[in-house]
């Protein structure tokens, strides 16, 4: 007779040497590999100049100092670039998520002529490198009077991220049983009300996954912002970090401090929504 799960001890936390070496040790090593650069950057950001470069180089800051953060935020005007990045990423993500939900829903629920072609075109846009579009779009945006504005960058990010996120959202919508919508229709809900009140709450993991991926892409981009903006006060964080690398001189402490500041928003976002993200990505993987 087969044993029950409890009898087989699957839920019992029992030390297993095999599990320890095949799972725990590789995970710890992988975590160390991932964390070392971050910890190094954090420690460097807390050191004074002579502890980073000079004969008194040390691994740990002694004494610990926040002067790099102060200099970066005030003297290097990081606050301006931080604000620009936050504005651009936030506005872009709002539109990307809303439009992806609409696109994903339509691709999942509707049958129309050319649907397969649309899907293929959306996929094909992901194969083209961004640099291919920069110069032609520069000319187009110039004609529209958008060059040197943050909205040229926002528009590009929306378009760049829409295809992939629409396809991803389609997978999540596919995972929502249509019977739920049918039940809502029977009860008198319109299509829009069904989408907003019934489907979207069930799509939260997918929406979070879409939001996070779009946000990180927009936050980290250098090339597009560098290309379309010609005014220093509208530059974003990645360009600000580039300013810290001089022609033949690098202030590593300030660069590390700038990098840590740049990480605050994405890390905070990930920490807050990680439970939705894990379930969202895995659900998408299974259903897609």
């Amino acid at each position: 007779m087969t044993k029950s799960i409890r009898q087989r001890g699957y839920h019992k936390k029992r030390f297993s040497v095999r599990r320890f070496f095949s799972l725990n040790v590789p995970l710890v090593l992988f975590m160390i590999f991932i964390l070392i650069p971050l910890v190094w950057a954090l420690l460097t950001s807390l050191k004074s100049y002579d502890q980073v470069s000079g004969e008194n180089v040390s691994v740990f800051p002694n004494p610990l100092t926040l002067i790099n953060y102060v200099n970066v935020w005030k003297a290097s005007k990081f606050q301006v670039y931080f604000g620009n990045s936050l504005f651009i990423a936030s506005v872009s993500v709002i539109f990307i998520v809303l439009l992806s939900i609409c696109n994903g829903y339509v691709l999942s629920r509707y049958d129309f002529h050319g649907k397969k072609a649309v899907m293929v075109i959306l996929l094909c846009t992901q194969l083209m490198p961004v640099v291919l579009f920069i110069i032609p779009l520069f000319v187009v945006f110039k004609t529209m009077g958008l060059i040197n504005t943050r909205f040229s960058v926002i528009l590009f990010y929306i378009v760049q991220n829409l295809a992939f996120n629409s396809i991803m959202m389609k997978s999540f919508v596919d995972g929502v049983p249509y019977e739920i919508e049918e039940a809502a229709h029977v009860d008198g809900c319109s299509r829009m009300r069904t989408l907003v009140h019934i489907v979207m709450p069930l799509l939260v993991p997918g929406i979070v996954a879409c939001l996070v991926m779009a946000f990180v892409n927009c936050w980290n981009d250098f090339l597009v912002a560098f290309s379309f903006i010609q005014k220093q006060s509208s530059f974003t964080i990645p360009i600000a970090l580039k300013y810290m690398i001089g022609e033949y001189n690098v202030d590593y402490g300030q660069l590390a401090a700038g990098s840590i500041i740049a990480l605050i928003i994405p890390v905070g976002l990930f920490a807050y929504i990680q439970k939705y993200l894990v379930s969202g990505l895995s659900n998408g993987a299974v259903k897609g």
């Binding site: 040197n148 504005t149 001189n249």
Partner: protein, 452 residues
């Protein structure tokens, strides 16, 4: 039916709603950041001129200095407004940004950056001979500096940029470690360099005689050093034959790269300038061959102690007994041919060459100003490594090696040789094989250029 109409109306409304903020906000942003062509048409007839000035290798320190300089300029010239942009990154980042501006017809009026033969062949930079002839700049800059820029246009010898502050190549040394080894830190010839390297290396302590740049731009650094050793001043002799694989150059490369893992550390294989500077600043190298740009950081690392750090000009060639240095970098002020305000742009370039601006910028950038008036400033005389570089460059016995930047693919070939330098370090090819191959490529490029 009614539902379909409602849906369609809603869709149109939503689409319009999304476009509205775009128009409104672009309007708002445009009031502060109108395109260059818009501003030009607004200013037409009003006598007011807006000039755009881009400077490459931008840092916050340089940006702050130049912004202040332009604020002063704007106050002195009420009809001129200079809009400044510091472009961060390397010369290739500036190149990319400039190419985009050219494609979109949004070129700046003045660019402070590296002149390339590509800019000349594409006619995007304005020849400045007529402006220089009528300016006081002509007498304030040594002819040999102007000639370096003229050689970029090898056929017509026109001047397409005015030299801006630039980096001088030099060797930073540790006088204390050299003294401990019982040697003199006066490098007379390159042979003294190798003697010091052999005697001061202490592998057990992780201290090495010098550093090989094995990473990005390895070949460029090697060019500087080998031509300084051989004393050859041109990449092509009078018969048009490439000199890069001259036996004297081969001899140097064998000596210099041959000391890899003996007088230099094993990780030199991938080192770029940041790693090289870091090694020297942390006291793990006795000599660093670099330029004045890293001078501020190198001296700061040792608290400006003259016993611990010193900058020296390149030593003499053991063959010609002359100091041979690479020509100054082609870092200059260029007027774009698309500028609609050329007279004002030239006036701005003249302002940038005044001692206060030229010298002030050079000071924060660790560079050498080219004008005689700026070179006589106190800070230059009081900064050891800058004075050493200036004195060496201005010494009539110092000769420049002229680089064939007029060859369109010269830099491309140079970059391709980085991997070959690493192969020599790893012992996969010999120094002679590398230089012969390099010479073949340059010769082909030169012959193609001559026949075009």
């Amino acid at each position: 039916m009614k539902k379909n109409v409602k849906t369609k109306i809603l869709s149109v409304f939503l689409a319009a709603a999304m476009l509205l903020p775009l128009a409104a906000c672009s309007q708002g942003e445009n009031s502060n950041a109108a395109s260059k062509s818009q501003k030009e048409s607004e200013n037409q007839g009003s006598g007011k001129v807006t000039l755009t000035y881009w400077a490459g290798s931008g840092t916050e320190e340089r940006n702050a200095f130049l912004k202040k300089a332009f604020e002063t300029y704007n106050k002195k010239n009420p009809n001129i407004t200079v809009e400044y942009l510091g472009v961060p990154g390397s010369a290739s980042d500036m190149d990319q940004k400039l190419n985009m501006a050219i494609a979109g017809d949004e070129v700046p009026d003045v660019v402070q950056g590296f002149l390339t033969s590509s800019y000349i062949s594409r006619k995007i930079v304005e020849p400045l001979d007529s402006y220089v002839d009528q300016s006081s700049i002509k007498n304030d800059i040594q002819t040999k500096y102007l000639d370096v820029f003229r050689n970029t246009d090898i056929k017509n010898k026109k001047l397409y940029a005015i030299p801006a502050p630039s980096n001088g190549t030099m060797i930073y040394i540790r006088p204390d470690l050299i003294k401990e080894a019982g040697l003199s830190s006066d490098l007379d010839t390159w042979n003294d360099f190798f003697k010091i390297a052999d005697k001061t290396t202490q592998q057990s302590k992780g201290v090495y005689g010098y550093i090989i740049r094995g990473g990005s731009r390895a070949s460029a650094d090697l060019e500087f050093d080998m031509y300084s050793y051989s004393g050859i001043t041109s990449f092509f002799d009078k018969n048009g034959k490439c000199t890069i694989n001259d036996p004297k150059n081969v001899e140097f490369v064998e000596k210099f790269l041959g000391r890899f893992k003996k007088d230099t550390s094993a990780d030199d294989l991938n080192k770029n300038w940041t790693a090289m500077s870091a090694q020297f600043q942390s006291g793990k190298a006795v000599m660093l061959v670099h330029n004045t740009g890293s001078g501020p950081a190198n001296f700061k690392a040792f608290n400006n102690d003259p016993n611990k750090v010193k900058g020296m000009a390149f030593p003499k060639s053991p063959y010609t007994h002359k100091v041979t240095v690479p020509q100054p970098t082609l870092n200059g002020y260029m007027m774009m041919s698309g500028s609609k305000n050329k007279a004002e742009a030239w006036k701005l370039i003249e302002y940038m060459q005044t001692p206060a601006i030229s010298g002030g910028f050079a000071k924060i950038a660790g560079q050498i100003p080219v004008t005689k008036s700026a070179q006589s400033q106190d800070w230059i005389q009081n900064t050891q490594y800058i004075k050493a570089s200036v004195d060496s460059s201005n010494d009539p016995n110092t000769v420049f090696t002229n680089y064939p930047y007029y060859l369109p693919n010269f830099t491309k070939i140079e970059n391709e040789e980085d991997a070959q330098v690493q192969r020599v370090l790893l012992g996969k090819i010999t120094a002679k094989q590398m230089l012969d191959d390099w010479a073949k490529k340059l010769q082909a490029e030169y012959d193609k250029y001559k026949n075009s």
